[in-house]
Symmetry: C2
Subunit: 124 residues, 2 copies
Amino acid sequence: MFDIKLDPNMSIHEQICGEVARLISLGILAPDEKLPAVRETAKALGVNPNTVQKAYAALEKSGLIYSLPAKGSYVSPGGKAAEAVKREAAAELRTAMEKAAATGLERDAAEALMDDIWGKRGKE
Amino acid sequence: MFDIKLDPNMSIHEQICGEVARLISLGILAPDEKLPAVRETAKALGVNPNTVQKAYAALEKSGLIYSLPAKGSYVSPGGKAAEAVKREAAAELRTAMEKAAATGLERDAAEALMDDIWGKRGKE
DNA sequence: TCATCTGTACTATTGACAATAATACAGATG
DNA sequence: CATCTGTATTATTGTCAATAGTACAGATGA
């Protein structure tokens, strides 16, 4: 299901959270779609089930998914999950920008990075 | 010297590195200027000297400062330090942008954040 | 010369946290 | 009734940040 190449520099459950959030935000995981079971995901990733459960618990706390005991875990309905992901992504990007601006990085330099990543044209 | 409000969510030596880097980048700490001694900084921040030394060692490894045993630690000359700070800040900002873009965040949203932080006009 | 300050090095301990291991329980599902 | 589900618990391991304490060698100034 998830094809994550585990980065030893980041905690596993954070990477799982990030990947699920990404898939939700992009619509690859649709609202009310069922996520793979905790144990299944753990097996697929070669990771302890507790670690996956920690990730799922965090995702539920953030409102991205909801879990029904003895049923499964599902993507939150109504697009609320996707919105939450983007909102959080924007918040983190803001923090990074503030940090960069604090070092005196010019706006032009930041703009050049944006061109690089999103493409030079505003709408694509 | 440094007025850092310690954030428990980040490691102390990282915060020291960040603050020194910021001061260098902004020119508040000039090239070849002497930094406060390890023990002095530790006392001022109410922190263990080992922690400060760890920060200074990291700064030297990054090329931001150079240390002369029995003399002191100094900002790297020729503006190389300030350049290094900005280069690293740009690299981190790029990473944050890539992450945000991966969640599907639109360029317009990112641009709005930039207006917020750097001001709407390109040059200030 | 000598006390002091400097960066540097080392060991040890504490606490927090990530991850693992191994169970266990209750509800649903077929 | 066996099985799968989410959930909970306890324990152990390893890593890392931070602290504590100590030590050494070079410089600096009185």
